[in-house]
């Protein structure tokens, strides 16, 4: 199922609504890469609260999305990974190394805002 992407100020919010096929994940990657340019977004939140499985392909694609968006100038934060999903990912030795994560949407926004402030103080 297609993932809706909402613009919220300098940020984009992608809220996953149901189980994602590989094609949906790849579509999300392409959508976000386009929209970050279109809206000149500084941050992207991907909300995966509803996902009951994050397997090796999903992990790899989320990591690729975050790294791609970084190259496009936007910070990505993945929010809402459920405890059981986190457990399965650890069992599979899957990591989201180098990718921001936060508990939920609220914490995700706080994460991006902290990053924005940091960049401001460093005169970036």
């Amino acid at each position: 199922m297609h993932v809706p992407v909402l613009k919220q100020g300098d940020y984009l919010i992608a809220s996953v609504q149901s189980a994602l096929s590989d094609a949906d994940l790849v579509q999300l990657r392409d959508d976000l890469a386009d929209r970050v340019g279109q809206f000149r977004s500084r941050g992207v939140i991907i909300d995966v609260t509803v996902l009951d499985v994050i397997d090796s392909f999903a992990t790899r694609t989320l990591r690729a999305i975050a790294h791609m968006l970084k190259l496009r100038g936007a910070e990505t934060v993945i929010v809402g990974i459920q405890p059981d999903v986190a457990f399965a990912m650890v069992q599979l030795a899957l990591t989201l190394a180098g990718v921001g994560t936060a508990l939920d949407l609220e914490e995700g926004l706080a994460y991006l805002n902290r990053g924005a402030r940091r960049n401001l103080t460093h005169g970036k």
């Binding site: 094609a23 090796s56 599979l92 030795a93």
Partner: protein, 132 residues
């Protein structure tokens, strides 16, 4: 309780169907939250292995009884090219194709029992079980 269901794997979209059916069967058997996720994730990995390497195959989901023990058995079967070096394929991080090399060894870690039988030119059958 005896039930068996079969999911034909022809494309990546069928991976989602297989893991959802597996989750439902595991839930009916009485598996709890984290085990349901482990089973669904393991199905996802073996189903993806079919899509990536054999293009098509099937996943059979069934209940299994051993004495008083009950569990779920998952068979992933394809008639693809087969795996020339099974030991190598079971090494974490070893991949001949686009994958991470996580799928098969990962599925083994998630389940209680895992067997793989592969013949070059004939196909691959993975049988895995999780006990309640």
């Amino acid at each position: 309780m005896e039930s068996e269901s079969r999911v034909i794997i022809r494309s990546a979209a069928d991976i989602v169907t297989a893991r959802q059916k597996g989750r439902v069967l595991a839930m009916e058997l009485g598996f709890n939250g984290s085990d349901l996720t482990l089973v669904a994730t393991a199905i996802s990995e073996v189903a993806r292995n079919i899509v990536d390497h054999a293009k098509r195959g099937e996943i059979i989901l069934a209940t299994v009884n051993h004495g008083s023990r009950q569990g779920i058995t998952i068979i992933a079967r394809d008639e693809g090219p087969g795996i020339p070096d099974v030991d190598r394929a079971m090494e974490y991080g070893y991949s001949t194709r686009k994958g991470l090399g996580v799928g098969l060894p990962g599925a083994k870690w998630l389940m209680d029992e895992f067997e793989i039988d592969s013949k070059v030119g004939q196909g691959t059958t993975v049988t895995m079980k999780k006990w309640l």
